[in-house]
Structures are given as C-alpha cells and as structure tokens.
Symmetry: C2
Subunit: 285 residues, 2 copies
C-alpha cells in the first residue's frame, strides 16, 4: 500500500502514519497537504495521512478546503491523535550551554517561546520549513546548532535529545486523518462520521440551530463543529462537523436526509473508528 504524507521525512505527520499503519506500507513524502490529498484523488497513492485539527506544520485549512471542494472522490477512513512533544535536538556531544543557533518551523518556535527565553535567551534563532527540515540541517551542519522537533526526527537523523517536552503548554495534540478513495473500507469498526455542509435554504435567524436540531432530535451527539469561510463572499461559511454514529445507522441516515433538505450542499466525508491519543514522546509501537 502506497501512503502519502506531509513530508519531509521525520515530520509529525510521518510519525502519525507509522504509529497507526495497518501493516507494511510504502511511505511517500509530499511537499504540501494539498498535493497529498490530491494524490489520493488522482490515484497516485492508495492512502494519505494529513493533519486536520490543531497542527504545527501542516495548514489544516488546506486539508478542510481540499476535502470540501476539490477531492470529491476522497473519504476519511481513519484518524490518529498524536500528542506533540517538542524536543531540543542536536548532533551527539553538544550540550545545551554550547548551542549557538536554534532552528525550527516558526509555529513550533512560537510554541516553545518560554523555554527559549529562559534557557536560550541569547542564542540566534532561524526558521525552517518544517521541524524535520530543522533537524536535517542541524545534523549535517557540523556546528553546535539545535533544532526543535520530535524525538522520532532526532533518531531518524542521528541526533540526540537535549531537552524533552519544551513547549509552553504541555497539552499539544494534533489530529491526523487517513484518507482513502471513496468505496475503500474504514480502518476498523466505524463509530463516528465527519460531514461538511453549506448554504442554508432558510436564511432566517437560527438556520444553523435548525440544521443541528436534525441531529439532536434523533439523539445524535455532535463531538465537534467548526466554521470556515467559503471563499465566495465574506460572511458565508461552511461547517465541518463530527458526529457520533455511522452512515449505516438508520437514525444517522434519517438525520443526514433531514439535513440535506435544509442546506445547499452536504458532503459525508466518511465513517471511521474514533482513535485514542498516541504520545509522540514514547517509544514507537
């Protein structure tokens, strides 16, 4: 099975892939989320693993937008929730007090602002395209440089972890999804369903409430809802929602039928198993 992911090697997306791969897979790094999603749509790969919520390097909006409007033949087949644990990483033999430069993706750098201020205040900071790229650069620089990245990236490029869990907020979780062509089976017994909808037929106040009542009236819990601008005019949104239950259940089918009558477009992005959280700091599976 050929699986695209947001590269380069050593990103958190690759770690999510490895921690949840159903067996032997061929890992193929893609430069952007959009290209990884469209590789499934175009049949270049069998699956893709991309961030969908709360990510560092991947623009999550890119995932949502591609699923909603471009990748009509792509479905969510599974999810992985990875606890992101940033580490300070350098080539073997470098001590923290010797570090002259720190590299990372700007977003990861911002998440470790307090650590950098308190422990590496006078050290030069340099941006990188991804946390993995930062480690790759540090590994081959031949200088006392350090990267902010995952433990897996450190091991991949032969570096050592100088400090672990250095983000300002300990709780930093990213949700990734496994994408598959429409018709492919989910990765286990499905328990949740992701949908996206837009364009209320009824423009009166409370249109969103009426739409969501189609679910609540049938006892279907909503575990997540997010709005995104629709790019047509400002003030027009599409809504991404996760609900408990699967498309095979009659009450979910009835709710989706009801919802479909109230909106211009409803897309079911897939029914798939809900995932436990995986800690990126622990040893691999």
């Amino acid at each position: 099975m050929r699986v695209a992911y947001l590269g380069p090697e050593g990103t958190y997306a690759e770690e999510a892939l490895r921690r949840s791969a159903p067996g032997e897979v061929e890992e193929l790094p893609y430069p952007t989320v959009h290209e990884a999603v469209m590789a499934v749509q175009g049949g270049e790969v069998d699956r893709a693993v991309v961030p969908i919520e709360n990510s560092i390097e991947g623009s999550v909006n890119a995932t949502l937008d591609a699923l909603a409007t471009e990748a009509s033949e792509v479905r969510i087949a599974g999810e992985v929730v990875l606890e992101i644990r940033h580490c300070l990483v350098s080539p073997p033999g470098v001590r923290v007090d010797q570090v002259e430069r720190v590299l990372s993706h700007p977003q990861a750098m911002a998440q470790c602002a307090r650590f950098l201020r308190e422990r590496l205040a006078t050290v030069e900071r340099a941006p990188a395209s991804s946390t993995a790229d930062a480690v790759r650069t540090v590994a081959s620089a031949g200088k006392p440089w350090a990267a902010i990245a995952s433990r897996m990236a450190a091991e991949l490029y032969g570096c050592e972890v100088l400090a672990d869990g250095i983000a300002d907020h300990a709780d930093n979780v990213t949700r990734f999804v496994w994408l598959a062509p429409a018709g492919a089976p989910p990765m286990g017994e499905p328990s949740k369903t992701s949908i996206v909808f837009w364009g209320f037929n009824d423009e009166s106040p409370g249109a969103l409430v009426a739409v969501l009542s189609e679910l609540s009236e049938r006892g279907i819990n909503l575990t997540r809802i997010e709005s995104r601008p629709r790019r047509v005019r400002l003030g027009h949104y599409m809504f991404f929602a996760d609900l408990e239950g699967t498309c095979d259940e009659p009450r979910v089918q009835a709710a989706l039928d009801g919802l479909r009558r109230r909106v211009e477009t409803l897309r079911v992005l897939g029914s798939y198993p809900a995932a436990p959280v995986i800690d990126s700091g622990r040893a691999g599976p």
Copy 2:
C-alpha cells in the same frame, strides 16, 4: 495611543493596523501574538492588533486561547478584515528570470505553490519567520533573491513588486481584531458581539443545540461558530461565536443570561462594529 501588533515591521498585522487606526498611533511590534495580547492585559500598551481568523503568520489559536483563558481584562473593540495579496518582491533591478532564491514564511510559500512550480520551478526556496522578515533579508542580501510578502512590506524595505496576486487561491482573507482593556469604548457604533463558552451543564445529546437555541429563539443570528480543544481532556471543546447585536440590547442580554445558565463558563469578548474588507493590494488610505 500605543498599539502592539504582531511584528516585525511590514507584517500583514501591521498593515491591518495602519489601514484602520483611528488617528495617530505609536506602533509597537511584538514577537508573538501571545505577548501582544498580554501587553494589553498588563497595561504596557493601550491597544493590540492581532489576527483572529484565517491568518498566515500569526497562530490564530494563540489569539483565541489567550482571550478565552488568560487575558481576562482584555476585550475586542473593533475588527479589520484584510484581503491578503501575496506579491513576489525583490530589490530594484532584479527580473523574475534572474531570481536565484525565494524566501517566505512556510505558510505563505505553501499558498503560492502553483506559482512557484510554474514560474520558479528550479529556484531554491528558503523559509523565513514571517513574510516581513523575508523582505528584510532580501533587501539587504545584495543578491538576486526574492520574497513572498505584501506590497506594503516591499515599499517599507525599498523593494519592487515583480508579480502581484501570486497565491493559488485569489480569495485569501484574514480577520484581525483591535484589543483594548475592559471598559474602553468600541471603535464606532457596535453591531456584533463575540463570546466564548465551555462546559455544558446538560451532557445529553444536543447540548450545543440547546445552548444555541437561547440565541435563535430570540431571533439573534449567529454569524460564526468555531470549536477549539480545551486542553483539559480530548473531546472537550470551547466554542467561540459571533452574533449579530450588542450587549446593550435587552434580547441579547436575555439570551446571554439563558446561555450562562446552561454552561460552566461564558465570557463576553466584546461588542464592536462589523468591518468591511480592505484589499492589501490597493494603495494605502
């Protein structure tokens, strides 16, 4: 008036500030969104301008999290919606076919993937901490390098625009907010209100619907809703919502009272005027 913004000079946040400043202001760049918000909370500055929706460089989650849980004495006093128009920018005299290296924030770079593939396929790409930092580096490099940034940043650093509107999707809008200490007046006649709430007292299916019905039953439209993980346990969310109407209106007060009875925490982030879209490609005001 001292106004913090997400720096360095030449970011889209600074452009949003300039396009909407109510008069003479002293502009103070801050390295992160979090620090800019907390500068208002701590009284270091009178106002701050930070991205809140759909931004490139600023982590918008940082804004939402700071407003919801840390900056209890900070309110939204106004908003600015800026149409982001990425340009290819270089020192005077450089032609597109001479460019040897392109620098930008990774997110902006990803948004211009098609342009880079088609027009600058063989050119080296290098990350920067912000689009403004990319222009600053290019301006002083003395080499045929180019940056992806705004027209304002190009002008600020004495560079020229080689190509305009180079993002893959033309429609790229970021919403910024003006933050002020609690008690400060809104920036004009208020028409909308932002709130954040979490912790449903009633954990049955449809708790969110019941909460939102407090608004819809009173004819109050919801213009935006977004969920964010609460960082306590996975599956617990806080909800950010924008509604039409202001805190002074009896029906809004009644709805918020009703809402308050159904949730653990409700914070009113401010009532303020709704803003028109400003095009970052046009000449300044």
